[in-house]
Symmetry: C2
Subunit: 86 residues, 2 copies
């Protein structure tokens, strides 16, 4: 496998793990219910993603910055929705 083919697998992986938060945000938004969603999970993961973002900025890697910046925004939305619809 060439280096580019491997990098494409990484890019698809990054897209899927980032976009996966959209259906969760929509589910809470529509149902106005987040009772079984763990706030602890999203708070811990949000801090982790902010650290990934810092890591990307320090290394100046655009892919890490974009993927984690977008993920952080989606997770912040889920945290706000969770606090609103406990």
């Amino acid at each position: 496998m060439t280096a580019w083919q491997i990098e494409i697998i990484g890019l698809i992986a990054a897209a899927l793990t980032t976009l996966s938060f959209i259906p969760q945000a929509l589910k809470i938004w529509r149902s106005k219910n987040a009772s079984s969603v763990s706030l602890t999970m999203y708070l811990v993961m949000f801090i982790g993603v902010l650290l990934w973002l810092t890591y990307g900025i320090l290394l100046d890697r655009l892919a890490i910055i974009l993927a984690n910046g977008f993920t952080a925004c989606l997770q912040l939305m889920i945290i706000i929705l969770k606090l609103k619809h406990r």
Copy 2:
């Protein structure tokens, strides 16, 4: 900042984003309720994490393999719990 200090930020980030799934799994396990947890989110993310694992194996990067291997196991547990306690 030295390369090692940056790498430590990455390792803490990896630990937090991986371990964050544990409180969600425990919450469903204890409450026997996963009604507001999105199955679509976990299925899409699980495929993404398996691709990250493939990426790590192809590049022979132990940190990527370990973090995503462990994350995949935790997400599979959440998917099974979600299917059991819809």
